[in-house]
């Protein structure tokens, strides 16, 4: 996974506003399966408007042209709006949780790594430490690579979410 989610082709982040109705995730996932489109990651959660949810999908555009994925998604009746978030014009973030096989409080190198990436130690004991980091996918890739040196026991990343950057003030 390292180095593959850094916002450059062949992966694109789509931000899809959908009606908040039962089965919408199944429709989206089913469409990707049926048409042979590859999903790299997918995040779905409600928005501030309870009628809608937002799905952030990182898609593989090497196997299928992006316009075909967007056009097929747009045909789903419950899909309201699709924006492709270009890395230069969007803020992206991802959350990482990891349990590492070190007693973190006593390992200066580990604490240094945690500090450099602005991560947070959630809990720890004699054998293991759980950390959380938030960042863009590229920096989390780096953080993950750094953690590997300490022995990753379990790891979960959320996949990318994003919003367009604010337009310049008038």
């Amino acid at each position: 996974m390292n180095g593959t989610t850094n916002g450059k082709a062949p992966y694109h982040l789509l931000s899809v506003r959908v009606e908040n109705r039962a089965g919408v995730l199944a429709r989206v996932a089913g469409l990707f399966a049926r048409r042979g489109f590859n999903i790299f990651s997918l995040v779905v959660a409600p928005t501030q408007d309870e009628r809608f949810s937002r799905i952030s999908i990182v898609v593989d555009v090497e196997s299928t042209p992006l316009h075909q994925i967007v056009d097929q998604l747009a045909k789903l009746i419950n899909v309201v709006e699709i924006s492709e978030l270009h890395p230069d014009r969007a803020r992206e973030a991802e959350l990482l949780l990891a349990t590492v096989g070190v007693s973190g409080r006593q390992d200066p190198a580990f604490l240094d790594l945690v500090g450099r990436f602005g991560a947070e130690v959630l809990e720890g004991n004699e054998e293991a430490t759980m950390v959380m980091a938030v960042g863009d996918s590229a920096s989390l890739d780096e953080f993950e690579a750094g953690l590997e040196g300490f022995g990753i026991l379990e790891l979960q990343r959320t996949g990318r979410i994003g919003l367009p950057t604010l337009s310049p003030a008038k």
């Binding site: 009606e19 039962a22 089965g23 199944a26 316009h67 056009d71 097929q72 045909k75 009746i77």
Partner: protein
Amino acid sequence: MVQLTGAQALIKSLEARGVEVAFGLPGGAILPVYDPILDSSVRHIHVRHEQGAGHAAEGYADATGKPGVAIVTSGPGATNIVTPLADAYMDSVPLVVVAGQVAAGAIGTDAFQEVDTTGVTMGVTKHNYLVKDVEEIPRVVAEAFHIATTGRPGPVLIDFPKDIANMQVDWHETAAVDLPGYAPPIFPDPAAITRAVELIRAARRPVLYVGGGVIKSEASGALAALVEATGFPVVTTLMARGAFPDSDPRCLGMPGMHGNYTAVTAMQRSDLLVALGARFDDRVTGSVPAFAPDALVIHVDIDPAEMGKVRRPDVAVVADCRLAIEALVSRLREGAELAPARLAPWMAQIGEWQARFPYTYDLGDGSTIKPQYVVEQLREATPDDVILVSGVGQHQMWASQFWRFEHPRSWINSGGLGTMGFAVPAAMGAKVGQPDRMVWAIDGDGCFQMTAQELVTTTAEHIPVKIAILNNSYLGMVRQWQHMFYKERYSSVYLSPDLPDYVGWAESMGCVGLRVTAPEEVRPAIEKANEIDDRSVVVDFRTDVTEHVYPIIPAGHSNDDIVVHPSQAEER
């Protein structure tokens, strides 16, 4: 305010949408809906199998342009109509199917006759609904019809739990829809029309590639005007037969795997393809990289996702097909008239292909009935406005090849899904929709065995249709492929001409059964069948087993590899 049950509200909502006919079969979970049907203006046609209800609704929709409606029960009733839903999805047929469901509280408990119908049909419908609140019935029905009939048409399923059908609701009629994510394109982009007209003016080897969208958007009149304005030749796909009259010399017939040599080759050599409501199906393109290599492409379709799905267009016109064609015609008329001479070499080349490679078959020594001969005789002996329906296989290709189609909505078949058994129920549905027109189906013996039970329905409901079985005692198309591509190793393909006894079977279903075993009996049998108007007729034509469909382009090959009839092989 009137209090209704959910079931009554559903039927009232169907009436409010102008539904005149529904095809269906009751069962446990849909029982509440069948009670108010007794008091409704909707004519309910009680089929013998749910697949028949679905294909009949498709035939009705294809014949009338109105949405077809079917009503089935939960579980097996719903799964039995999955094939027609898939068929309608592939061929963009507007359907609304109501399926009963177990009580909402029992969903997920593996209740009797429970199936996750919404989940099962998600991939084969344009949209589907699981009704969760009795209040939403009028809106769901209004939305279902709106979605089924607008944009690119398609099937919509309403999954309707039994307890909600039994709940009370204050009735309010509504056509209001709440679809923030659904706004199908309608009007063509003027800039795209401008670019398209530039390509049309510059073309020297053009072909109008006409698909089913022309029929669905009622664009035949506009198409005729476009042909007049441009002089372009026309190919009509399997879904578009009749969109432009075969009798016009500029009609080159059907393209594709079993298409007319001239239609196939003109597309291959063209410098401009104007695709109108067509989707570059693999049966049309053959090998995609080798398809029409020199052609620029103008692609007109109402579905944006068709643009570049198979072939990247040079000009994409996402719009209603009729409106787009009308815009092209009016823009063309604004400029200088196109000189017919610019296409003269191309039309001369096309004329030469037409003369050398017409559809043909060998009449033989008269000892056997050639299936193509039956098709030709049927065409000659039936009225101009006859509706022809077919199943899937060799007989379907011969029907498309040897029939002369002059009008839209006079040819109904299963194109994309290739559903054997389509013909009998679809013919029934077509006759319900067009009771004053004669409806003939050309069917295969294999197809007929799959859905013949709906002839019982035609007898019981007084829907007289005529079925010509081209009985060659084989799954003919499979046999042809095993002959040509599997070294004549015939595997599970023989059916027997006499088992079942088609005449006896027809009579047991209340139809007239006729058997024809010699060429000279063909025409009299057709004429006899034409005279019978009070019940359905089945004619068992015993046709030549060895006949193959030509031309044929082997699957996956370039269209340049077209194999013509053996009698024309020297010409190539």
